[in-house]
Subunit: 403 residues, 2 copies
Amino acid sequence: MNNFKEITGGVTAAKGFEAAGIYCGIRKAKKDIAIIRSVVPAKVAAVFTLNKTLAAPVVLDKLVLNRSNRCSAIVVNSGNANACTGEKGFGDAERMAELTAKSLSIPKDEVLVASTGVIGQYLPMDVIETGIREVAAILSPNGGDDTAEAIMTTDTFAKTCTVSFEIGGKQVIIGGIAKGSGMIEPNMATMLAFITTDVNIEDSLLQKVFRKGINRSFNRISVDGDMSTNDMAVILANGLAENGEIVESTDEAMLFESALDHVVISLAKMIARDGEGATKLVEIEVKGAASHKDAVMAARSVANSNLVKTAIHGEDANWGRILAALGYSGVDLFPEQIELSMNDLPILGKGYTILIDEIKAKAALSEKNISLSINLNQGNDSATFWTCDLTKEYIHINASYRS
Amino acid sequence: MNNFKEITGGVTAAKGFEAAGIYCGIRKAKKDIAIIRSVVPAKVAAVFTLNKTLAAPVVLDKLVLNRSNRCSAIVVNSGNANACTGEKGFGDAERMAELTAKSLSIPKDEVLVASTGVIGQYLPMDVIETGIREVAAILSPNGGDDTAEAIMTTDTFAKTCTVSFEIGGKQVIIGGIAKGSGMIEPNMATMLAFITTDVNIEDSLLQKVFRKGINRSFNRISVDGDMSTNDMAVILANGLAENGEIVESTDEAMLFESALDHVVISLAKMIARDGEGATKLVEIEVKGAASHKDAVMAARSVANSNLVKTAIHGEDANWGRILAALGYSGVDLFPEQIELSMNDLPILGKGYTILIDEIKAKAALSEKNISLSINLNQGNDSATFWTCDLTKEYIHINASYRS
C-alpha cells in the first residue's frame, strides 16, 4: 500500500516547473528540442554514463555540476547525440547552455544540456539556435507531455510518470520523463531521464536517495547490452511545496524515497518494455543469492543473453539457456541448486528436476509481461532486472538507423 | 610464408586415425553420432568451457583426464547436449564411454565423450547405444568428412582444416574439425573442436602449445556472447609420424605451433563466419593497446556489440557505435586518440577526425569479409577477434530452436 497516488503532468506537474518541446529541424519531422525550467534555482542531483566515450553535453554537465549545485533549466535535443564530436562538439554544447541561459535570463552555470540520437555528427547549430529561442519563449506549466515527446528517438511511446503525496501537511509532487530505446544497458542506457519535484529536501539526502533510486531502476534494465555515450538522469528539487526540509533517517525521507523509486522504476520498466523491436517486458528476479552483487550479476547475465531473449520472443520456455546464462554470469553458483519459475509456473526444481508443463508454459509466454523468478538457493539476497525480448524488428531498426 | 601445406582429410588425415559419423536418430534426419579413434593410445590435451553449468560429458571428461593422460577414442553426438541432466545425464555420458570402450576393446579411461545440441533433455539412450555399436563397426581412415558432418547442429557447412609439413625428414599431419554456431562466445563457444595429429611431441609441450593455440583462436570468436555448457576442444597426438620427439624451445616446436595455430584459427574463423544467421565474417584487430589484456577486452567488446553487428549487417559504417563499444569495454582508453579503418578504408582519425568516404565505405561493407582495424594509440599490444553480423535469421533460428 503506497502513500502516494499517480497523477498526470510529468516534469511540469510539480509547483514552479515549466517546459515545452517543439520541432526545430534536427533530423526527422518530430519534436526535437525541449527546455525544462524551474522558476527558482533548484537543488540538483545527476548520474551519468560510465562509458569512457563521453558525449560533449555529459562532459559539460559534469564540469558545471562541479562548479554549481543549483540548476534552473535543462535544454535537451533529440536526433543527434553530439558524441565523438571533439572540441567543436563541446563548443556546441556550451553554446546550447549559453543561449538557454540568455533566453531565460539565468546564469549559464544553472543550465544543464542533454542530447540523444546519432553519434559522430556535428549538431546543426543553426536550427538548434533558432529552436532554443523559440522553445524558451513558450515554456508553460502544461508543457510536460510535449517535452516527453521531444526527447524520444526510436521510442514508440512517450514515457512519463507522476506521483503526488503529502509531507507535513503539504502536497508534494514528483514528475518524471524518460526516453530509451536502443543502446540500453545497466549503468545507464541510451537513456535520458529528467525528474522534477517541488519537495524541500536536504541537498545531501537528495543526492543519496536519487543515486539509490537510479541503482534500483535505470541501472537494472537492459535492451541490448550496449552502454551509451550520452546517458544521464537528473532530478531537480525546487522546494516550492514548502514542506519542512526533509532530512535523513526520518519517516518523510522514507516516504520521499519510496515515491521517487516508484517514479524511476516505472520509467525504467517503460524503457525496457519499449526496447527497440520489443514485444514483451521481461522481469527477472534473482533471489537466494549469497550477496546483492551476485544477485545483480546473475540477473544481468540472463537479461543480456541474446539466446534467452530470442527464446522468450519465440514463446519457448527454453530454461536451458537461462541455466547457461547463469552459469557464465561470473557468480560462483551451483546450477543443480537452482529453482526456476516463469509467470509463477514452476519450470525447474533443485537437482535439475524438470517441472515444466510445456502447454501451460507456452500459454504463459504468450503474455506481454513475462516474469522469470530464479532462486539460487545460496543465501538471502535478491535483485530485480528488466529487459525485453529480442526480435527481427530490433535488427531491422538497427541495420538501418544511421542511413 | 608457411612451411606447411593444406591438404584434405580432417581428423583421419594423420597416420593411425580412423573415424566415422552416422545417423542414429537423436533428433533430425542428419548424421548425429561419431567416433574418432587413434589406433594407438594418443597423448591428449583438452580445454573446456568456463561455464559453471557444466554438461555431463564435460564433467566426465575432466574426471577422466585427471586419471588418464592417454586417449584412444572420442565419442560425440549432436542434437542433444546432455546438459542440466543431473545424475542421470552423468550416467548416460558414462554409458556412452563404456559402450565405446567395449566396442573398440580399449580401456574406458581412454575414451572422451562430447555432446552438443539442446539443453535440459535426457539423451535417447536406446538409439545412442545402437548408434555407438554401429558407428564403431565402420571406423575408417576415410571417415573424416562424415565425422565433421555428424557433429554439426545449426552449422550450415562442415568445418575442417588439415595441414601437412615435415619435421626431421618425416611427414607430419594435423587435421581438425569443429562445429559452431550459436551460443558462441570467447572462453569457448558452443563449439566442439577435435584435432588429431601423428606428431611425436613431448606431453607438456603439447598441453602448452594447444592452450596457446586455443587462446588465439576459439577464445577469440563471438557470435552472440552466450557461453555454452558443452564446449570443448581436444587434441590427440599419437606419435605415428615417427619424428624425433619435439621438445620445447626448438625450431620444430615453433613449426608445430604455427601449423597448429593455422588449423585452429582457420576453424575458429569458419565458426564465426557460420554464426547463426550470419552473412559476413568480421575480423576485429585492436592495436596500439597498453597491454594484451586491454587489446582483447576492447576487441571483445566490439565483437559482442549487437549494435555494431546490426550496423555491419546493414552495411552502415556506423563508427560511433564502435567508439561507444570501446568506451564501455572496461579499458581505460582515450577515445579521442582512437583511429579506425574498415577494410583498409580510413574512417576516423585522432581527435575524432572524420575521414569516412560514405560511398566507398558502403561499398567496402557490401563485402562478405569485413575487417575493422582499431588503433588505440596507447601502447604496442594487439589482438585479433572474429565475429559475424547479427541478422533477422539469427532471431528466426533462435526463436524456434527448441520447439
